[in-house]
């Protein structure tokens, strides 16, 4: 009974606090976004599975400029939406960075989270909760409200599976703070839910092209780079400065950044596209070079002669896979050039790699009609010399 009274009293206090804050916002500030010193409040509507899986809930997301000029966003949320009115509810302030990545949570002074039967969180529980909220692939991602209330087993983390029926199983105990599955579920979906895309959208709309390049594309963190590339593409920024900066990031960052960049490059005009591809190929490692060759072989863009001509001049520097993919692509596009033929003839004799020489031989054999007499003789010599290896 005492416990019940305590919960009711706390909930009333929270409501009063919320109401006061809300009235302040509504009266003082215009709709959708509200500016307050270094803070802006945004009204956003998002789906939260602990509240309603179909109907969005409106929230007041606060954007704050930090002293180091970066931004953070926060939202005050109920610690738990258990649907049964038996849970202790306190306000939790949840924080995200400017990319929408969950950062941390804070409680009001004196507040504490509780587990089942009113047992307060221990320090270990709070640490575990941090881990839970940072676990992007948590089983909680696919759990819905109805799954949580099937039995007490969930809270206990028990498993009730039999060999015969393969009957109901429950969440892995590891995935939650034991005894606080509702809290974990509620907060996890706040931390990792729709709010992320809302924050990214808000931030993107505020950033200039220059901001995106200087502060995001040049950032050490690949997530920032990906955000910058996606944003520049969304904003249709395809000027030379942006293209060169993105290429630089593609070549110096992790491969996923390169892949994001390829999507950006695909949106360039034909001329810029092939120029960009050539630069990326020439400066890239094997994985990136192969990605370039594949991308070009799949693109619907015309006007590839310059690109193939340029690559033909450099075939002596290709490894076997690059030769294979390049010549396959050349054949598909029916590209021919005396430069390529001559370079391949050289490979017959001079390549240290027999596989490369043999691949050149196969390619040349296929278009023998285009060869000069001298080239044909060289081709025949190769055939004779390696007749047992062809």
């Amino acid at each position: 009974m005492l416990k019940f009274k305590k919960t009711i009293t706390k909930n009333i206090l929270i409501l009063v606090k919320r109401f006061t804050f809300l009235v302040f916002l509504m009266v003082v500030l215009p709709s959708n976004s509200y500016l307050s010193s270094s803070k802006i409040t945004h009204k956003v509507a998002i789906i939260h599975p602990a509240i309603d899986v179909h109907k969005p809930i409106e929230c007041f997301l606060v954007e704050e400029i930090l002293p180091n000029k970066t931004k953070q966003f926060y939202l005050d949320v109920d610690s738990v939406n258990c649907g049964e009115n038996i849970c202790e509810v306190i306000t939790v302030r949840m924080f995200w960075d400017e990319l929408g990545r969950y950062a941390k949570y804070e409680l009001e002074q004196g507040d504490e989270l509780e587990k089942k039967e009113g047992v307060p969180f221990t320090n270990k529980d709070y640490k575990k909760l941090e881990w839970v909220l940072n676990n992007k692939d948590s089983e909680l991602k696919l759990m819905f409200k109805n799954d949580l209330v099937v039995s007490n087993f969930v809270e206990q983390g028990n498993v009730n599976v039999d060999a015969v029926s393969g009957a109901t199983s429950t969440i892995t105990p590891n995935e939650i703070v034991e005894g606080a599955v509702w809290t974990c579920f509620t907060l996890w979906h706040w931390a990792n839910g729709e709010i992320i895309s809302k924050i990214r959208e808000i931030n993107r709309n505020q950033l200039t092209h220059q901001n995106l390049i200087e502060n995001y594309l040049h950032h050490q963190d690949d997530d920032y780079k990906n955000f910058a590339i996606e944003s520049l593409q969304t904003k249709q920024v395809f000027d030379t400065v942006a293209v060169l900066e993105i290429e630089k990031a593609m070549l110096t960052s992790s491969y996923p950044v390169f892949k994001t960049g390829l999507q950006y490059v695909e949106n360039l005009s034909e001329e810029k596209y092939y120029q960009s591809m050539l630069r990326l190929f020439n400066k890239g490692d094997n994985q990136r070079r192969i990605a370039c060759l594949n991308a070009v072989s799949k693109t619907s863009k015309k006007g590839n002669e310059f690109y193939y001509d340029q690559l033909s001049k450099a075939v002596q520097n290709f490894n076997y896979q690059e030769i294979e993919v390049f010549l396959t692509s050349v054949k598909l596009t029916k590209f021919t050039s005396p430069v390529l033929t001559e370079k391949l003839i050289i490979l017959l004799k001079e390549s240290d790699n027999f596989l490369i020489a043999r691949r050149a031989y196969w390619f040349l054999s296929d278009q023998e009609i285009l060869l000069t007499k001298k080239q044909k003789i060289k081709l025949q010599k190769f055939k004779k010399k390696y007749k047992n290896r062809l």
Partner: protein, 656 residues
């Protein structure tokens, strides 16, 4: 006419005992009474020599005493998932094989007669499955494609089709192996009774595999066995009782309900046994009306075979008692529109005889992940020992999930052949195990791996004229290599087949790489396991995977192991999946599985197509083609059952 001659030959074997093995299904042995009577001695009785007046022929003949002798290389007794795997493995590897089943449908506990979910390593501590591959995987994948309605009777036929299409395999249904004829410590033949044709078969074979669960034939052969629970001390088992006793886990009868959309009253039959659900342990909770309750279970503390019919009757009564509690106690008003759609009449058994092999697998072998140099497969279901007394003690938990496994454990071959009968092997719950080890290994997926191992081992025995023990002692590497080639995963064992020419390729690459090194396909481990990546994955589709040799090789076979997401369960369930269960179970063909692909070989510099699959449904994809001299192969991966990328775990290439 040919058919008639064929039957004559089989019948003649009763006296000649030298008939050729038959290669067609036993359903051909439908018998022609007149012919049979020429060979068989008439049964004397009141009817005498003219007992049977054949109106069709106008003749009067004695009642037929049908007896036939047939000869095979390998005889498999019991066609549960273990027996099926054993028989198919033996047949595919070249042995003339017969599969003998005492029921009208295949599948044992998984059949429509019993409907036990075909579980395997469904859920390790990680929360993920580690599905069994090989033959059981092939069947399960086909079921997902051809039986989307999840019908158990249709499943029966999918299994039947899977088995009878093997050219080296004969299936005998409604046939029980009731005795063994011996020559010293060797089984010469099994005496079988085929219920539907009133025929006594003498089945001769070089190797016998008893995968029947109860193991009547093996027991009749004199194979050593035990029943009950070992005491703690014997194998140093933490979860065993202090003192040995006779307890055997029970058998269960299941049910399936259906929502009819209107009130469906229920009146229990007279044999109902009341279920006091109000006072039952909370783990015996009623949480659905679609599936049965596995804890409707009765065992025995001495001889479970002896009391099986009494238990069956009581279990049927308890099943109705539970349903009566659901429908008529007033505590489950939302069950109003549900009615029984199917009720089992045949209990699914968990435990009876456990035969003794050279090694008795015990708790610590599993929990300490002991390494066996004769490992042939794995298990990983939790130590799931059911409650002594079953439904007779409803206040107790229905089962004790003693311990779950972090990763899979090995199952050794030396637990799968008899210690004292030289040509007898086992697969399934009757293998050489302690009671506690059985609580995990009894799961059908694990039993299937045992089956595939003994079926494959039997072919080595036949080819070399040796015993299973000699396979273990002298040819275990060969057995392991054969199993791994046939897509069995053996923990901590790396495949290294010297005939595999893929390992000699000079260059291996994919057209793009999302994860994994292309060379992983020849590293000898054909699944991602214990955090180690053993695959190559394309970034997108279509994709090309290529191997190149400096010197030409001659090839006629290329075998590819692809992705079926072994961390998800594809077993057929009786209840729809909720959103959370969809994380670990799927009800479709795994979307990762490659559906359309082809294989090209580079011959004289030109790519020629040597194989194509337009609706692949197997994890192990085999391309067989006329021999070609080639310098490279490439696999075009075109389409999956849903995913936008493709993974390969292994590529092998063979001359023949």
């Amino acid at each position: 006419m040919k058919r008639r001659n064929f039957i004559k030959n089989v019948a003649g074997a009763t006296v000649a005992a030298s008939v050729l093995p038959i290669a067609t299904s036993c359903k051909s042995l439908d018998g022609v009474a007149q012919d049979i009577n020429k060979e068989n001695k008439a049964v004397s009785g009141n009817g005498g020599e003219e007992q049977w007046h054949q109106l069709g022929t106008g003749k009067k003949v004695p009642n037929p005493d049908r007896k036939k002798t047939v000869i095979y290389d390998v005889a498999v007794v019991g066609a549960g998932v273990a027996g099926i795997s054993a028989a198919v493995a033996a047949a595919r590897n070249g042995a003339k094989t017969v599969l003998i089943n005492d029921r009208p449908v295949l599948g044992g506990n998984a059949s429509s007669e019993i409907r036990v979910t075909l579980n395997g390593v469904n859920r390790l501590k990680s929360g993920k499955a580690e599905r069994e591959t090989g033959i059981v995987e092939e069947i399960m994948l086909e079921n997902r494609l051809y039986n989307p309605q999840q019908s158990y009777p249709v499943w029966d036929h999918i299994v039947y089709d899977y088995v009878v299409r093997e050219p080296n395999l004969t299936v005998m249904l409604n046939t029980q192996a009731i005795d063994a004829n011996m020559d010293g410590n060797k089984i010469v033949s099994a005496r079988c009774w085929q219920l539907t044709t009133e025929t006594e078969f003498t089945i001769k074979a070089a190797i016998f595999i008893d995968s029947s669960g109860d193991g009547l034939m093996a027991a009749k052969a004199g194979a050593l066995y035990r029943t009950g629970r070992e005491g703690k001390a014997e194998f140093n088992e933490k979860y065993a009782p202090d003192v040995a006793d006779g307890w055997q886990m029970g058998a269960s009868i299941l049910l399936q309900g259906k929502d009819h959309g209107k009130p469906m009253p229920y009146t229990p039959p007279t044999f109902v046994k009341k279920y006091d659900g109000d006072n039952a342990n909370h783990e015996r909770k009623i949480n659905n009306y679609l599936d049965g309750y596995w804890w409707v279970e009765l065992g025995s503390d001495h001889d479970i075979v002896d009391v099986q019919e009494e238990n069956r009757h009581d279990l049927m009564g308890y099943l109705h008692g539970v349903w009566d509690y659901i429908k008529n106690s007033g505590k489950f008003p939302d069950s109003e529109n549900y009615a029984l759609e199917w009720v089992g009449s045949l209990p699914g058994r968990r435990e009876s005889r456990r035969f003794i092999g050279d090694h008795i697998l015990s708790e610590k072998d599993l929990t300490e992940h002991k390494h066996f140099d004769d490992a042939i497969g794995f298990g990983g279901w939790s130590l799931d020992e059911h409650n002594p007394s079953g439904i007779l003690d409803i206040k107790e938990r229905p089962s004790f999930f003693h311990q779950r496994f972090k990763t899979v454990y090995q199952v050794p071959f030396s637990s799968l052949y008899s210690k004292n009968i030289s040509n007898l092997m086992f697969a399934g719950r009757n293998a050489s195990l302690t009671h506690i080890a059985l609580s995990s290994t009894r799961i059908q997926g694990t039993c299937a791996l045992m089956g595939q191992a003994v079926g494959t081992a039997a072919t080595i025995c036949v080819a070399k004229g040796i015993t299973p023990r000699e396979v273990r002692n002298k040819h275990i590497k060969q057995l392991q290599e054969m199993l791994m080639r046939d897509d069995v995963y053996i923990p901590k064992v790396v495949a290294n087949d010297p005939k595999d020419l893929a390992k000699k390729a000079s260059v291996i690459f994919g057209s793009s790489t999302k994860t994994g090194d292309a060379k992983n396909v020849i590293n000898g481990i054909s699944r991602d396991i214990d955090g180690q990546i053993n695959h190559w994955q394309s970034e997108s589709l279509p994709a090309v995977f290529q191997m190149e040799w400096e010197n030409p090789v001659t090839l006629s076979k290329v075998e590819v192991k692809c992705d079926t997401n072994l961390q998800k369960n594809i077993t057929m369930r009786k209840q729809p999946l909720n959103d959370w269960l969809k994380k670990t179970f799927i009800t479709t063909v795994p979307p990762e599985l490659i559906k359309v692909l082809d294989l090209e070989a580079r011959v004289n510099g030109k790519w020629i197509k040597v194989g194509e699959k337009t609706s692949n449904i197997a994890r192990l994809i085999k391309f067989d083609f006329d021999q070609v001299k080639t310098t490279a192969i490439r696999i075009h991966l075109k389409e999956t059952y849903g995913f936008k990328t493709a993974k390969l775990f292994e590529v092998r290439a063979y001359e023949s």
